[in-house]
Symmetry: C2
Subunit: 453 residues, 2 copies
């Protein structure tokens, strides 16, 4: 329901826009587009086929260009940049926050980067270079060096006068940071604390030093986790000497959380979260064919198991009819366990201390499922083929395959994680190979042993 | 890599805790647990098997009990509540924020709810009843009625004096809300604006009325979307008469975004995001068996297609060996398209105006994949069986099935959405049924037509 509302709204905008584009009336399109926030424009551009996308991109207020570029996936961004002059690009990005600019800079042509650097003042250029010196997906790349600092040996009144002199504060400033003479991070003061204390209160009585600073080399995932565990709005970033380098704000963290979720959902299907929905057919083909090729290899592995039993199938052709059921059910059951494991691993909830308990639980659940559904399946097969032995074979085979699925569902992601691979990416392919192979092997193997006696 | 760091850290905590629990030394466990934030304790409790979970839960500082309850899934929460006396529960929840309390209240026993209501003062009781009067998953249920309001006809100085008198502000207050005499929402003033303007500045010069208020009946998804599109930290909530009712803060929105992502990942495998990883075997069994039962029915549908061709398979047993490849590859390719569609629909990026373009693109990609991989498959089959006609049959069947997969991958989620169902939940089952049926039908059907001439 809820999603439907959202969907209707954007779909209506899309339709309005499409109709206006089709009729060539660009005035209304421009007006519609420029009532939207940059992130919304980005969303809209991502949902337009290339030709219309370029038209709408040309109508976006140049002031918003930079922010829109920040809010689209890599592949769409590339297509938008391809459409701009170097001058336009420089104008678009030069007013961005340092962290956003750092995010974009790698996608820009070298000549443009030089121009952008030249257009910046020395302080900002140094800040950008500093941010870029940290590895992608670390706190250093997420931080904005623009922070407001105060000294501990002063009073509320002095700070208030300083702030009035300074004028506007950086966006989402909810705390001032207290630093030593050597710019070491000592603690923070909430704006609301400043507002609710008398003018003559010494600053050092108001310092909150409970929130630990974030280490500049910490991973983006770790940063996101801390923000959501502690309900932070912003957090200071320090180097290993505790020198304050910048601050990370919740809006960037929300983007990380969204990206993580997309990555997990898409990588399970062998997709990239930066893929343009309307990317050119040859490009989409090249990307998909690799993944499908891997799956083709695993399918051959399963087929070669069936090939071993050609003689059995020749004698009892019902086996060919029923074998996809045994294999497929294993795949379904295994995917359930795998999905729970991938989530548990991502949340850090699964380790050596509880994985055995989990494995044992899942195997028991699988045995109950196997006996229940296996018996049901056996009954149906009996009604279909009137062969008690065939029924017993499929009941046993399903139970064996569901138990294998549970074992694989728990152990495959644990092993992948230990080897440093992403369980969300490779887990599904490996697991369904196991359940296919085990399904065919147990069903056709038992059939050969029991039915061909 | 990034995830591995987090994983190592929590896994180490888990191991330490487990070792300490095993040895019966509860002192270190208590100390370890109470260095953690409530959300971290919740995460830890979710990763413990029931027996250890109850021990650790007994060691949590009672002051944190309420916040921990807010941060665990429904099923784990139930198990924790089952362990507490009514008095303990009342003590745990009575200091929670109204929005958190509203979130919990439905899981509490009726007698406890009465006790909690009695322990509250009249103002808070009325606020709670108001929040509870809105539907779950709407802005009304997410908001906290505790807001700081000021009048427009005053000055910065007066407001500052009022704030100093008032003392502490509600958590995450970044704006004060300006209301009329009738409590209608007029706009907001950032704390940093108050701090950077002279004492005698009139408030009505500082009002920001650009951010639209959130309607109290808006869905949680819509609220989350707005927050992330506009980088909001907090937003006012109003009724249809523009009366200010409360405010929503980003920390609750982060929870919604996480829940959405979990829901999407888990529902595709027929799982519930509130499932306890260690739920009792009979309960887990009951839940899983329903989903697997549905899949069993669809597997029979596919098997019955194979059953139609028993005669053909009897004559050419190679077909039984190869048919799972054709069906399985269709499933893989279809899942890729479905995953992209589910994401696009969730983001509101797909509507009637672009779905045809998308369909056409995906069909072309599928045809290229089909011809490439089909030819490869045909070659391998030729090497294996030395039968040109069989090779041609499998090449054509794979191409047909990949094209069906693309059609189904685009059309199934669109149709589900239109009928008001969740494409993430039912899409996979329907789609793999289509690709299984089409895979068997095209391969065995073509084989019957061409090879048995």
């Amino acid at each position: 329901m809820a999603e439907a509302v959202r969907h209707d709204k954007t779909a209506r905008q899309l339709r309005l826009l499409s109709d206006a584009l089709d009729s060539g009336r660009l005035g209304p399109v421009r007006r519609l587009v420029n009532t939207l926030a940059p992130a919304e424009i980005g969303n809209l551009l991502e949902s337009l086929p290339p030709a219309k996308r370029q038209v709408v991109w040309g109508l976006v207020d140049p002031e918003d260009d930079g922010e829109v570029l920040v809010h689209v996936g890599d592949e769409v961004r590339e297509s938008l940049l391809a459409d701009m002059d170097p001058d336009e690009i420089v104008a678009a990005v030069e007013d961005l926050d340092i962290d956003d600019l750092a995010d974009l800079v790698e996608d820009l042509p070298d000549t443009v980067i030089d121009e952008v650097l030249k257009s910046m003042d020395r302080e900002n250029r140094e800040r950008l270079e500093q941010v870029l010196s940290y590895q992608e997906d670390t706190a250093g790349r997420l931080m904005n060096p623009d922070v407001v600092t105060v000294r501990a040996d002063t009073t509320v009144d002095v700070v208030l006068r300083y702030l009035r002199l300074r004028g506007e504060l950086p966006e989402h400033t909810d705390h001032l940071y207290v630093v030593s003479r050597r710019h070491q991070y000592l603690g923070r003061i909430a704006l609301q604390v400043l507002l609710t204390h008398e003018a003559n209160t010494p600053i050092n009585q108001l310092i909150d030093d409970e929130q630990p600073a974030i280490d500049v080399v910490e991973s983006g995932d770790e940063v996101a986790r801390k923000f959501s565990d502690h309900d932070w709005i912003s957090a200071p970033v320090v180097d290993d000497g505790n020198i304050l380098l910048g601050r990370i704000t919740i809006d960037d963290v929300v983007d990380i959380i969204r990206d993580q979720a997309e990555h997990q959902a898409l990588s399970a299907a062998g997709l990239d979260e930066d893929e343009d929905m309307f990317s050119p057919v040859p490009r989409a083909f090249r990307r998909r064919v690799v993944w499908l090729g891997v799956n083709l290899c695993t399918a051959f592995l399963a087929a070669s198991v069936v090939g071993r039993f050609e003689g059995t199938i020749q004698q009892i052709v019902a086996l060919a009819v029923l074998m996809p059921i045994v294999a497929g059910m294993g795949g379904n059951a295994g995917t359930q366990v795998l999905t729970l494991m991938v989530r548990g691993l991502a949340l850090g909830q699964i380790g050596s201390s509880n994985s055995r308990t989990l494995l044992w639980k899942e195997v028991r659940v699988a045995l109950m499922n196997g006996l229940t559904l296996g018996t049901l399946l056996g009954l149906i097969v009996w009604v279909w083929y009137r062969d008690v032995e065939l029924s017993l074979v499929i009941t046993s085979a399903l139970t064996i395959n569901l138990a294998s699925a549970a074992l694989g569902g728990v152990l495959v992601p644990l092993a992948l994680k230990r080897m440093g691979f992403d369980p969300a990416l490779a887990g599904g392919v490996i697991l369904t190979t196991i359940t296919d192979v085990m399904g065919f092997l147990s069903f056709l193997g038992l059939a050969t042993l029991i039915l061909l006696r």
